[in-house]
Symmetry: C2
Subunit: 363 residues, 2 copies
């Protein structure tokens, strides 16, 4: 572990854990030794990430008995069926309750593997090794795991915290530009929720991130993880303010479900969703046009979509959003903006303006 490695702590009492951020970490045997208590490890990865990084991880896990499950790549495989393959692997090899499940890959691998770790023999150890920007800044931190159902995204899952998160920034070098941008959507989101100085830093530094300057990337990952860890520590099970992290996600999930899982990347749908939340906030008189345009400009500079696909109309949007997890007793609640870095969770808005917003995009 180099001296440049950052270590953040997610403060959750007995479930607290560190996030390691830095270069060369996924091949660092010492970190694994520190956090894997038993003798057996099941590495869950996918057919894209496996060929790139599995060898390094296996070498670093030399002290352990290791088996591997390789899943197909893509959001459309984030299903109960794929999840079951991990149990088949664990049971065929007689893994016991002292084993560790290690997720090596992006958000889909982490969500499925974490949900399997949560449920195998009612819970075994779990470690996240996220290899995409989106997973490093968002999905690997905070313990949300799960899979999609044909009728709704992330509808089946568990809150289950890992023992540590190992974010190796070198793995971003093999990420394609589209995936890098998708991760930036979640980074921009943190600024908009509660961190105006970070949003302004992003406005000045978006080009450095797109050209993958290591220093800029490490800073953005660290700040994003810190912002997220603070919210998660205050509300682990999303009884209240944690829902702020879903800025852009209610619209985004509707887009993902509406176009079919995997057509749009999650981060792309969130980017359009953030702009839609901004547009609705402007219509409600909560956000000035100038601030909305700053959001749209930053999202656009990050090479992300600022509007939803044309073929989802108002009525389909409303139907898809009605199964969202933030619906409370039949009433839709949204994360909206009362300023840059001033997001709120609310069901208290004029639904006519929501319909007008949706009509703006649908054809």
């Amino acid at each position: 572990m180099s001296a440049d490695t950052r270590i953040l702590n997610v403060d959750l009492g007995v479930r607290s854990y560190p996030i390691y951020i830095g270069s060369g970490l996924l091949g660092d045997a010492e970190i694994y030794r520190r956090h894997i208590p038993g003798e057996r490890v099941m590495v869950v990865t996918n057919e894209t990430v496996g060929p790139l990084y599995l060898k390094q991880v296996l070498a670093a896990l030399g002290d352990y008995q290791v088996e591997t499950v390789v899943l197909p790549d893509g959001e459309k495989y984030k299903t109960l069926e794929t999840w079951q393959r991990i149990f088949d692997g664990l049971l065929e090899r007689r893994f016991d309750r002292q084993c560790t499940v290690l997720a090596l890959g992006g958000g889909v691998v982490g969500d499925i593997a974490g949900f399997a770790a949560a449920c195998y023999q009612r819970g075994v150890h779990f470690i996240q090794v996220p290899t995409t920007l989106l997973a490093q800044v968002d999905s690997s931190v905070g313990g949300k795991t799960g899979v999609n159902h044909p009728l709704g995204k992330n509808m089946i899952g568990a809150f289950y915290q890992p023992r540590c998160v190992i974010a190796d920034t070198d793995s971003l070098n093999t990420l394609d530009d589209r995936q890098l941008s998708a991760g930036l959507a979640e980074v921009i989101k943190y600024g908009l929720i509660s961190d105006l100085p970070f949003f302004e830093w992003l406005e000045s530094n978006i080009e450095r991130l797109l050209s993958r300057e290591p220093e800029a990337l490490i800073y953005a990952i660290e700040r994003s993880c810190q912002d997220k860890a603070d919210v998660v520590a205050a509300d682990e099970l999303e009884a209240g303010k944690r829902a702020l992290l879903n800025l852009g996600h209610t619209f985004g999930h509707a887009i993902e479900t509406g176009v079919g899982y995997g057509e749009w990347l999650h981060g792309e749908a969130v980017a359009a969703g953030v702009c839609m939340a901004g547009e609705l906030s402007r219509r409600l008189g909560w956000l000035s046009a100038e601030k909305l345009y700053r959001i749209v400009e930053l999202v656009s500079k990050a090479n992300l979509p600022t509007v939803p696909p044309e073929n989802i109309g108002r009525s389909q949007f409303l139907e898809l959003m009605a199964v969202d997890k933030k619906v409370v007793s039949g009433k839709l609640r949204l994360v909206l903006m009362q300023g840059l870095g001033q997001s709120v969770i609310t069901g208290d808005f004029d639904t006519a303006e929501l319909q007008n917003t949706l009509d703006e995009y649908g054809r």
Copy 2:
């Protein structure tokens, strides 16, 4: 709620909950009102219990919007496939995160429905209304939920506590004799784990239980729940002494998996498993023959099997037991007896005696 109703508390800090034991409780609207916070309830039952009790429960839930999922009856349906039907029902009717899942039935219904409640939108409210003796004294209390996998029983699941347990002793009137006896296996187990006075009470009162004397049944249920609640409060996630509750279960699960789920009732397999644990304990010199015979006699009087099926031989037993959740780093641990009411969890025994014990039964 009549004055005779017993209320026990399972002490788990913020997750504490009451167990109501008494006559006529499943039609008691007041108990539901006290423990169901939202507006919508999904009742999960099966095709045997539904026709008997669903109407009463629905009448008592008159203040709520209620939907129903009816599962097929039997341990062989305790699968991920059956479990998914609950999600389909919840999502088709747009149930949100404030809903309550209510399990009405025996152990299989409770285990599947509880696991669905644990995972739907990462966790919704859950209520247990057990209608079999086995569910009332064991499976509905303590938060173990889950389903079977073809390679092992209860291998996929979660620890998830209900908001309350409502054990209506009237529902035992429709239980057939075989199911009643199966429940008594778990009752006997509590005496053998740590409660010699209860074991002795059972030796004197087994006939009263078999003839369903209400007073005797209520006493046995209350004492069993109290014994279990004490253990669960001390070790919710089975890091240590909770494993004592699995007396007879490692052998029992091997029997259930070996003969095919549903051929033997769970309680029957546990009864034979308790006797096998007793036989091994005797061979190890930990339990006198006289005490072993008292166990065998009580199990036999309860109309339960005292030996495993002949067609499972030693090698199949060892193979089936190797996937048990109590295996630690490859070493099989068992709950064995150092006296009546003095069970211990241990991996420290002569495995030759385990093999001799198994050879005693296999042909």
